[in-house]
Every structure is written in structure tokens, then in C-alpha cells.
């Protein structure tokens, strides 16, 4: 049986950029124009194959309004990856994205994989954030970057596949620290349960 790794992923970003829609498209392959605004957080799971492993994403979707930033540590603590979303039609959301990157750099877990998603690329005719700017910024912070459209199902799968590829594999060296051992135990237990 393939080993299953549980990967905690949190979504961050400004309000109304489409964080919940991205999760909904990825997990349920469904788009709803009027998803209820996330209060606190929302939790979904999906398992995807990646090489010799199965990656089970535990996705925490957060509230985007600024005053909810103080709750973010609850959600990104212990995360393997973070998807920071902005809206290509709103320059303000790109500024908020930079704030989140700083937050993660300062207080987030070490070695967290960061992915930048420029959502609503189906509205490129009213674009405010050039793709070039996003790419340059992502390169500067060593993050994955992709423009997506939850509405038209563009680049959603690619986004999470990229994250899977970025996740460092488990090696004998990392098994030495306690965090690694914990994750390993969880994976082994999960694998054993599936068998």
C-alpha cells in the first residue's frame, strides 16, 4: 500500500479574493458564486497521489477581514504549506498578500512551503496586478506562483500539485528531530490503518 502523508495547508489572503472558492473547487470540483464568508475557519480534506505517496491535504480556510489576522496563528501553526491568495483585479489584495508573507516569515513554521495564487484570472480584462509583478515578488521570496480561476477551474489542480512537489520528502536525517518523528508516526499509523 502507498504511504499516506497528512499535510496541513492553510489559506490566507484578503477578504473576497476567492479563498473558499479555490478550496471548494479543489475538494468538490464545484463553484458557488455566493459562498458564505468564512468566520473563524473552515476545514476540508482531499487526498491526491504524488509519486510514490498519497498526500492527504488538511485544508484550513480562514477569514479574510483584517481584524481576523490575530487568529491566523491558530491556523498556520503546524502547517506544511500556506496558500496566499490575491485577486488580480484588486491591487489592495496584493498589498495584503505581502503582509501575510511577512507574517509567515516572522512567525510561521520553519520550512513552510508558500504558494501565491492570483485568483480570478478569468477577469484579466480588468486586471490591476500584472503577472510580471507577482512573478518577481514570488521569486524574491522563493515561493511558488500561479494565476488561477476557481470559477473556470484554471490551475487549481496545478497549484496543489506544485505544493506536493515542493514538500520536502521524509529522509533519515529529518527523522532525528521530534517533529519529524511525530509526522512519521502519524503517517505510519495512517498507512497501517489503511492496510
Amino acid at each position: 500500500m502507498m504511504a499516506i502523508r497528512e499535510l496541513k495547508v492553510c489559506l490566507l489572503g484578503d477578504t473576497g479574493v476567492g479563498k473558499s472558492s479555490i478550496v471548494c473547487r479543489f475538494v468538490q470540483d464545484h463553484f458557488d458564486h455566493n459562498i458564505s464568508p468564512t468566520i473563524g475557519a473552515s476545514f476540508m480534506t482531499k487526498t491526491v497521489p504524488c509519486g510514490n505517496e498519497l498526500h492527504k491535504f488538511l485544508i484550513w480556510d480562514t477569514a479574510g477581514q483584517e481584524r481576523f489576522h490575530s487568529l491566523a496563528p491558530m491556523y498556520y501553526r503546524g502547517s506544511a504549506a500556506a496558500v496566499i491568495v490575491y485577486d488580480i483585479t484588486k491591487q489592495d489584495s496584493f498589498h495584503t498578500l505581502k503582509k501575510w508573507v511577512k507574517e509567515l516569515k516572522e512567525h510561521g513554521p520553519e520550512n513552510i512551503v508558500m504558494a501565491i495564487a492570483g485568483n480570478k484570472c478569468d477577469l484579466s480584462d480588468i486586471r490591476e496586478v500584472p503577472l510580471k509583478d507577482a512573478k518577481e515578488y514570488a521569486e524574491s521570496i522563493g515561493a511558488l506562483v500561479v494565476e488561477t480561476s476557481a470559477k473556470n477551474a484554471i490551475n487549481i489542480e496545478e497549484l496543489f500539485q506544485g505544493i506536493s512537489r515542493q514538500i520536502p520528502p521524509l529522509d533519515p536525517h529529518e527523522n532525528g528531530n521530534s517533529g519529524g518523528i511525530k509526522l512519521g508516526n502519524q503517517s505510519l499509523q495512517a498507512g497501517r490503518r489503511c492496510c
Binding site: 455566493n34 476545514f43 492527504k56 481584524r67 487568529l71 491558530m74 503582509k99
Partner: protein, 924 residues
Amino acid sequence: MEDTPERTPSSESIQPPGLAREPEVTSPGDSEGCARPLDPAPKKLCGYLSKFGGKGPIKGWKCRWFFYDERKCHLYYSRTAQDANPLDSIDLSSATFDCKADAEEEGTFEIKTPSRVITLKAATRQVMLYWLQQLQMKRWEFHNSPPALPATPAAALTENGPTLHLKLEQEEAELEEFLCPVKTPPGLVGTAAALQPVPAMPSALQNISLKHLGTEIQNTMYNIRGNKQAQATAHGPPVEESSQSAEPQRGEQPLISDPSIPEKEPEDPPKSAPRSCVPSGPMQKPKRQSNTFPFFSDGLARSRTAQEKVVALEQQVLMLTKELKSQKELVIILHKALEAAQQEKRASSAYLAATEDRDRLELVRHKVRQIAELNQRVEALEQDRERLVHEAGLREQQVQALQQHVQLLMDKNQAKQQVICKLSQKLTEDLAQPQPADATNGDFLSQQERLEHLKDDMEAYRTQNRFLNSEIHQVTKIWRKVAEKEKALLTKCAYLQARNCQVESKYLAGLRRLQEAAGAEPGDFPELLQQLVQEALQWEAGEASDSVGLSPVSEYDDYGFLTVPDYEVEDLKLLAKIQALEVRSHHLLALEAVERPLRDRWATLTELMPSAELKQLLRAGVPREHRPRVWRWLVHRRVQHLHSSGCYQELLARGRACEHPAARQIELDLNRTFPTNKHFTCPTSSFPDKLRRVLLAFSWQNPTIGYCQGLNRLAAIALLVLEDEESAFWCLVAIVETILPAEYYSKTLTASQVDQRVLQDLLSEKLPRLTAHLGQRHVDLSLITFNWFLVIFADSLISDILLRVWDAFLYEGTKVVFRYALAIFKYNEEAILRLQDSLEIYQYLRFFTKTICDSRKLTSIAFNDMNPFPMKQLRQLRAAHRERLEAELRELELLKAEYLERRASRGRAVPEGCVSEDEGEGDS
């Protein structure tokens, strides 16, 4: 030969009218006496009545044979008692009865059914009252009989006899209070009435029912066939034989001729012999003979007592004497005629015998002499006539004198008439003023007649009044019984529906477990399971159409939320279906047992005042129809110090003048508020506009908070209940500014985070086993419960339970949220303890609040099992955790400051670093 036809008419004319009725009245009495021992069962209700109907020229009274069918509670009618097929029937189970006191003809009453009104007439008022009382009793019996009849009629009669007998006695006792029961009129109702001939009608054609011509033809053919059979076989049933033999005689009466009479007389002795063996013989014999020989029938009828015999014989003697006199007169007349004829003969023969002219001349002279004598006689008669005329003149004078005398007498009586008129006027106030009394004898008589009529009318109205009182009383009782039965049926129906929902829910739950287990098994099993799941989900469409008609549960609940959430994933669809069925099941079971008494108690609370009773009622939940006014009262209690007239309008005006910074966020969230509620998703709904105004007004009201995501939920709930936007606005103010601690929705959400830590402590205290279980698996409950507290469960609970929580929350305050949060975990404690993996636990916690459908159980846990729960403890915990959180926040600020300093020092060395440093400062 010449004597016989003259005898019959004279006999009929001689017979007194009073005597003609006596045989008809007496002989049925005999038959009834004979019938009673033979028929111990309850008497059948049947008899001849006149029915008003028809159209055009044939409109009028028609004679019909009516009989009652107890099994169906129908009154059937046909043209005669012998007809095989009834013309039509009247359903009495839902009919009412009315006797017409003001009807033109006596004995008229009505049967009113939902579809038509039937006017019937009985022979007398007594018979009418008998029919009305019997119909009332039959209707009552029908409504009180058990719904399921036994298989055999005999068993039914045996089992129901005592019960029906007791009920009948009660019914009779009650009827006596309104109207004295009428005894059975002899001969006019009951089985014996069938033996009576059809009452005479002016026209036979008018009695035929053109409306049911087919049935009439069938009945005629049946009667003809029956008649032939009766002629063929001499040993038919007694009743049928007698009835059939009666008809041919009636038909033959018009055809009676002289030769037929001698033929019938010899037949009398042989006919009477076989009939004497049959019990109905005496009944038939008098009836048949009464048409042709009233004398003999009268004699036979009165042979019971010696005294009656003597009277009968005397009457016979008188009749014979009268007949003898008439016969003598006839003989005298005949003799005179004979003598005249003989004289004529002698004269003719004498004239012919004369041989000489002389003798002939002498005969002529004789004739001339006779003529002269006749002339003299004529003159004498004329003189007599003149004398009679003279006498007539004298008598006329006497008459005039008598008239004058009468005039004087009338003048004397005029005063008496006036007094009588005044008295009659008082008796009948409704009548108009009587005409001035005329000084004539006829007018006096008319006054007397009027008095008699008025008395009769009074008596008739009194009788009608008593009958209508009994009718109203009985109909009221029937209505109450029907209402009770309906209520019982509704309760049973709700119970059965609840059971059905539970069974279906268990089936779907079983399918879901199989679906989960099927993932590990290869083969055809998963395909079969998937097919079953799809079939189960397809039931929803059919069931929805059924449930619309059967139960009040519909696609949306009372407040517009979808009862079955629309999930995309298949396993979630099954889960949603299970939840909806469980919710409906609990709703149906609680509808009668719990909600009705609560509704009654709330109806009596017109004035609301704080009290222990009110607290208990609010914890039990406010009924939907009372919730708006209760919430308005609760909100007013909390914000009356903030409330001022025109405040809301002023805030709206300010919002129109300039845009609030929060307007963008509010606009963004409007369309995303309660996407599963029709009031917020329907394009034509006014709720989104109201919500916008409420949230904007609140932003101006409370600049420190402005708008925070989550307030849209609170305001939306307030709108759904209160509907008025200003009331909803003050409800929002009450919650944020008076119930919840300060800074619950501030920039840092400080108070909200404090409450999460308080909840963790309370969980450790109240549910230690669960807390340890979650701790071992590193499950942070605040990831789930933060949402609960921020929107007071608006995203988590179904509306029935949610609004019950709010009922208590608005009255008792924030402690209620903690009570229910703990109760929710207690409600599902065993299920959570069975889960071993943190991922499974998070998956379960994601939806488990939506599965709670037993609100009574949850409420009981919240307010009983969680005790003791003092407010003092809550305050202390809040204060302690607030200090700790603020300390952590200060430490975080220090760390941020140090980080910024380090970056600033590093930035001086590189020119590009200066640019990034400026950009960073701008963002912060």
C-alpha cells in the same frame, strides 16, 4: 239487473265519511300488534312521505316510499314500497333537519345536506315529528357506532346491542329535555305501512319520476314479472302475495261490470279458507273487502267486543231501513209508470176494436174531455203558484225584519270585537294592525278564524323552536365528536410519519455505513451499493411531492432555510438526507405533546414581566407566532437607555450623506449572507436591502467596531424573526453593546479569543474525559468553537434549535452561549470518544452540530446537566484569561519591534535594502 247499478252509488252516498276512516285506522293496529312479537329487532324506519320536486308542469308533491339504511346512514326512496330499485338516496351523516312551522301545509320538514335541500311532507304533524326524531336518533347512532364493523351482521348486532342501547337511552333522555318523544303513529310508519295502498294522487303521471325514468322502467318490469309469478304460484310469501293481490284488484275496479260481480261472489268462500292459515289473512281480508263491501268489512272489524257488535248491528239496521225506504219509493214510481202504460194500451186497443164510426166519434169526445180536464188542472196549478208567490213576499218581509234585529245585535257586539282585536294584536306583535272592524257577521267570524290561526301558528312555532334546539344540541355534539376524532387522527398520522422518517433514516444510515465499509472491498459490491444510494437519493423527489400534501414540513423551514442542505458530495447528500429525516421525526413527535401546551401558556402571557416563569418559558423556546413580540420586548429592555426617537433614521441619513469605510466590505458580504435561505437568495426579496441599511446604520452607531464579518449573520437572524429593519437594528445593538463583552468584534477580537480560553477551562471542569481524549490527539477545539461564539451558533445549528438558543440568550445573556457550547459536546460525547484519529475528529466536528435535532434533550443538558454554572465563575475566568492574553499580545508587539529594528540596521548597508525598508514601513 236494473237494480244492481243503482244500489252501488246509493250505498256509497249513504255511507258517512267518519265511518270510512275507521277501518283504515283500526286494521293496521291489528297488523302492528301481530308484527311486534315476530320482530324483536329494532324497528325499521320506513314509510310513505310526500317529496316536493320536479320541474315545470310536473313540479309539486310526489308520493314516495322512504326507508333508512343503518349501515350507510342513507335514506332511500322509491315510488312504492314494492319497488326493487330505489330512485335515489339522501346521505344523512352530514345532514341537518328543520321543521317548517310557517309552511303552507302541515307536516312539512326539510333535510339539508351539503349538496341540496329536500322538502318532505308527512301525513300529520305528529308523523312529521316522529320522522324528525327518528332521523336525529339514526344520525346520532351512526356517528357513535364503532368504525370497524364485525364480519357478520348478527355478531355486529349482538356486540353493539348493549352499547347502542345505552347510548340510545342517553339520547332519548336528552331529547326529552327539548321535545317529548312522539309515539309511533300506527299504520303510517314502519313495516306495516308497506301494506297500505299508495295514497291517492290527483294524477298518476305526476307521481312518476321523470328524473329517474330508467329506474321507473326497471321497477315496472320487475312488478309485472312479480305479478305473473304470483299468479303462477299460489304459495308465495304472505306479504308479497297480499301486496300483489291488492294491486290487481285496484286495477280492476274501473273495469267492474255487471257480469263480473256474480262471478266473484262464489269465489269468496274458497279464498277465505287458505288465507285463514296465513297470519296476515285477517289483515288482508278487511282491507280488500272495504273497497267493495263496506258494510261487511265494518261488521267484521267490529267483531272484537260485544258492545261493539251491538253498535255495529244497530248501524246495520239503520242502513237497511234507509235502503228499504228508497226501494219502496222506487217501486211506487214504477207502479205509476206501469199504470199509465196500461191505460195507454187499453185506449189504443179500444180504438182499434171499434167497428162503427159512432164508436170512433165517441172515443174522440172522450179524449177532448180529458184535454179539458188537464186544462183545468193547469189553471189550478197556476193559482197555487200565485199563492206561493204571495207567501214568498210575506217571508221576505220577515227576513228584512230579522236582518234589522241582527243589525242591532251586531252594534252591541262591536265593542267586544274591538277588545278581541287588541288582545290578538298583543299576542302577535309581528302582525300588522288589524283592519277596522266591519259591522258584519262575516267579519266577526273571520276574526275568530284569525285567532284560531294565530294560536295554531304559536303552537307550531313553539314546536319548531323545541325541535331546532334539540337539533342544534345534537349537531354540536356531533361536531365535537368529529373534531376529537380528527385530532386523534392527526396525532396518529404525525406519529406514523415520524416512525416512517426514523425507519428511512436508519436505512440511509445503514447505507452510509456500508458505503464507508465498501471502500476496502473489491468486486461488484460497491456497484450495488452505489445503485442503492442513488435510488435512496431519488426518493427525495417523490417524497417531496408527497410530503407537501401530508405534512407541514416543506423544502424550506419556517424562517426560509433549506431543510435539506444542498451538498455536492454524494456521501454528504446521504448525511443531509438523514439529518432532514431526523429533524422531521422529532418535529412531528413534539408537535402535539410539547408545543401545544407551550403555545397555550404563551397565549395567556399578554403582558411580559421578568420572572422565574418567564425564564423557564424562554428556555423552552418561544412559539413562532409569539417570537417577534417577545424579542421586541427583550431588546427594548436592553437598549431603552440607548434608544431615542428618530435615531435609526438619523444614522441612515448620515450613511446616505457620505460613504462609510465599511461599505465595501458590507456590500461584498450581502450576497454571501445565508446562501441557503430563500429570503436572502431570492432576487425580489427585500431582505438584502434591509440588511445593508441595518449594517450601515450600525457602522455609524459604533465606529469602534464598524463592520465585522459575522455581524451580517446576527443582523440577518434578527431580520428573519422581527422583519422590521429598525427592530433588527436595535437587536444588533443589544447583542453587541449590552450582552456580549466589549471588544468582542473589535480590531483585535480580544474578548472573543478570551472566551475561547474560558471555554477550554470549563470543558476541563465539566467534561474531563472528553478534554483528555482531545488533548491526547492534539485537537484544538477553538478552531471550531470560535465561529460558534462569534455568530451565536448562526452557522452551526438548525433554525429550530438556533432560535431557541437565542430566546434564552437575549434574556439571560452571554452565559447561555457557554451552556449550549458545553451541552453540544456533552450531547455528542460518546461519539467523539469513539473517534481515535485527529483527522476523523476534525471531520466529525465539522458537521456534528447540524445533526443535533432533539432540542429538548439539548436544552435539558444545557440548563440541568451543566449546573452549577455561576456567573461569578464566568466573570473570574474571563478576567484572568484577559490579563494573560493581553500580556501575550504585549510580548508579541515587543518581538515585532525588535524584528523591525534588526531589519532597519541591516538595511543601511545595502541601497536596495533601503527601498524594501520603505516599502515595508508603508505596508505596516
